[in-house]
Symmetry: C2
Subunit: 213 residues, 2 copies
Amino acid sequence: MVNVNNKKIPASTISRLFVYLRELSELIKVNINTISSAELGERTNLSDAQVRKDLGYFGQFGVSGSGYNTQELKAALEKILGRDKTWNVAVVGAGHLGMALLTYPGFADHGLNIVAAFDSKAKKIDRKIGDVTISTIDDIEKIIKAKNISIAIIAVPAQSAQAVTEKLVEAGIECILNFAPAALAVPENVKVKDVDLSRELETLSYFLVNKKA
Amino acid sequence: MVNVNNKKIPASTISRLFVYLRELSELIKVNINTISSAELGERTNLSDAQVRKDLGYFGQFGVSGSGYNTQELKAALEKILGRDKTWNVAVVGAGHLGMALLTYPGFADHGLNIVAAFDSKAKKIDRKIGDVTISTIDDIEKIIKAKNISIAIIAVPAQSAQAVTEKLVEAGIECILNFAPAALAVPENVKVKDVDLSRELETLSYFLVNKKA
């Protein structure tokens, strides 16, 4: 939950705003200027009520009876979601997952620039991956401040995740994407998003049991 | 979309069924025996209407006025979603991302057993990662059939993804999780789920712009 104008906004609402934003971009590409909440719901596989509830947290967007202006709603959502800005990102842990993230294309398209990487193993330090040089974990605070980094990705083993988190929090990081299968303890002002890669596979099992013979 | 009893079920509905399933497991742990669609929506940050619409695709679960029996709904969802079964999985591509997936804990908890890995590079072949030995891509068909593999994860570079997909389809694979940033062409009976790791970071930018100063 995040507070906006003293209202608690569920994380799932925020995720859906990104879905609406992508859909609005598609609509604008094909010159559709207005859309109702029911149509937006239809296109995003959500109920009319859900769309209105999600957008309702942030004020009054549509004109009653004529729907939303796609350009205006897109601009409003980009501002709400911080998509009109870019952010500097650090990857902590340069093992398989960290290296995969460092070489993963597509972050830049989302306004996310990976500008630093850290590892504890001496043999990894000073290796260059694309434009990023791997630094020692001891330099976290110095580099995070010097490079104006706002988001950290944790890609270390579970047993190291809490110690790394504490270094990041000390360095002033308030936003963490956590790939380690560990529950991180953080102060109230720090936001952690846990990623479970196995969930990506979940919906496939549904397909397998329901496919036509 | 997947057809069930001639109804088209949106992929997003299936994703939400997994959310309901996790919530039902939590409720059962604390001995809650019945729950209304409104309460289930409240706990999963979805509207009452959304919950009823999603479950409505699969029949009549609740008793009007008294809500859903948590045990019964959980068992029904497990059956619908194939979570009462286990599936054998192959990882294609043993680069950074493939290795990260091969060593990622937690797949087994979701009924997913990684039993094979493939790579095109000679130096990777016959390396053992946990219980899995990396095989040459030329053996895809033989091993997929021998090991009764239902799901393939593509973790190869974009430019190799289509060729690998064709080998998998020839081997009878109908379910693919695709980490390569490439749009895969597959026959109609094959389900591809594309994963964009950068989306995991999306919601964090929202937090950054809305955090308290």
